[in-house]
Amino acid sequence: MSGEPVMADWTKGEPAIVYQSCKACGGLQYFRRGFCAVCGSADLGEHRAGGEGTVYATSLVLRAATPETRAHVPYNIVLVDTAEGFRMMAHGDNDLAIGDKVIAHFERFTGRLVPYFAKSK
């Protein structure tokens, strides 16, 4: 991090997807840490992702576990391989298929902002 301020992302309520890259080994990581999980270096850069990606996997949830999430059923949990090269979990259109090119926006889910992917073009 080199003392740089932490960029806010959707996990902090901001409509943004943020990832880290290692200045020492070039490794990318999506789960924020104070060091690179590949080489251990603390010299990381933080970047805002463009929101483009490809669907890696999908699971349409029809049985949720809480009253708050149940209100949203059905909702599609997707894993997306971003154009930048890291994988992330998000929501997406119910008809997304593996391999679809997608672009992110943000939606409210149980009162929080979450990344949501729809087909690009």
């Binding site: 999908t58 949720a64 949203h72």
Partner: protein, 378 residues
């Protein structure tokens, strides 16, 4: 050297009014008696966890409750792989001379001790607290993601997955302790309520009450000589978002190391006990372990390969899918059944030859793996 000298298992399903400690105690009592030992001879205890009654020192809570003062005791937490991870540790402990008889025990009133929603919610917390859990995934959704990808890469269909649920149910029908006693068909699985597509209700194991235990000893205590011939673990990730590609998952790493540790080849194996939290888990693990070619496990189910009288009898008690899943005890039932098969005590479920068995457990979202070979010695 280490031997599984005794096993104990309760029925799975509803045990209204029984606590986790009650279920652990019942299974432990059975296992110690099966080993021909007295409580006081147990000098090591390994136990799992209980989501209903979490405690920072469950092993000593259990030891005091059960009336044992062991010289070695603690809990182990590796999700669904906990039972085999404890067995592996017990194997090394007795082999190293740290303890003579280690009691391995798991049990939980997960069905009647909390609501099903509470269970699903507790288990969903294996997801990342910041980057996954806020999205509302459930354990079936984590495995649903894996299933969608596996089906995409290897041409596996929902109908293929359904075969595993039908097989486990058929096996459970001949075990009086199983949670489910009604036969099901592929159509029943396909028509069951969608949970987290492509997984439907009958693709998922149930929530159960139950307990299981075994004793791992340095020397045999009777005629039932079942030896741990080798075991190994692999841990590649915790969260599904951080999982490696399908061809690099931990099962293949663990089984390769277990083969090297034991000198056993897959072609030597006569009985298989494989973790089956969901139909996709079983399908993938069978293929990762080399018990079926990639994408061909379902065809082997259809051909009867994994039947009681097939070439590779599998989870003859009905597995997690149909015997039931009470948490840590869930996959321990696989080892109990394996032991009964290896010692010729499986009654009408008895297979022809279970002289060498392969066991495999998985925790998290295919995150933690333990492979183990057991061998009957004369």
């Amino acid at each position: 050297m280490s031997f599984i000298t005794g096993v104990g298992l309760t029925s799975y399903g509803k045990h209204e009014g029984s606590s986790s400690l009650d279920l652990m105690s019942r299974a432990a009592e059975l296992a110690i008696a099966d080993a021909g030992l007295k409580r006081a001879e147990i000098d090591g205890i390994l136990c799992g966890y209980s989501t209903v009654s979490p405690h920072i020192m469950l092993a000593t809570v259990f030891a005091e409750h059960f009336g044992i003062r062991p010289s070695y005791a603690h809990a182990v937490q590796v999700g669904g792989a906990t039972g085999l991870a404890m067995t592996m540790l017990a194997h090394h402990l007795v082999d190293a001379g740290v303890a003579k008889h280690v009691l391995v025990v798991g049990g939980e009133n997960r069905l009647t001790g909390q609501s099903r929603d509470a269970s699903i919610l507790a288990l969903a917390q294996v997801g990342h607290p910041d980057y996954e859990v806020p999205l509302g995934p459930t354990i079936p959704a984590y495995y649903g993601l894996v299933a969608s990808r596996y089906m995409h890469e290897y041409g596996v269909t929902e109908g293929d997955l359904a075969e595993f649920a039908v097989l486990m149910r058929r096996h459970a029908l001949s075990h009086p302790g199983a949670q489910f006693h009604d036969a099901i068909t592929v159509a029943d699985v396909m028509n069951s309520k969608p949970v987290a597509l492509p997984l439907k209700l009958l693709d998922c194991c149930p929530v159960s009450d139950g307990g299981a235990a075994f004793v791992v000893s340095r020397e045999p205590t009777g005629d039932a000589r079942v030896r741990v011939s080798g075991c190994a673990q692999a841990h590649t990730h915790q969260h599904v978002t951080a999982a490696p590609r399908l061809s690099e998952l931990g099962a293949e790493i663990a089984i390769a190391k277990a083969k090297a540790a034991s000198g056993v080849a897959i072609s030597d194996v006569r009985y298989a006990a494989v973790y089956d939290s969901f139909t996709i888990t079983l399908a993938m693990l069978l293929e990762d372990l080399g018990l079926a070619k990639r994408g061909e496990a379902a065809a082997r189910v259809r051909a009867g390969h994994f039947n009681q009288d097939g070439a590779m009898p599998l989870n003859t008690h009905g597995g997690l899918l149909s015997y039931g899943h009470c948490g840590v005890g869930g996959a321990m039932a696989h080892l109990v059944e394996t032991h009964l098969q290896m010692t010729g005590r499986a009654g009408k479920r008895q297979v022809r030859d279970a002289s060498i068995a392969l066991l495999h457990g998985d925790g998290g979202v295919l995150s933690s793996h333990v492979s183990m070979f057991l061998e009957r010695v004369r």
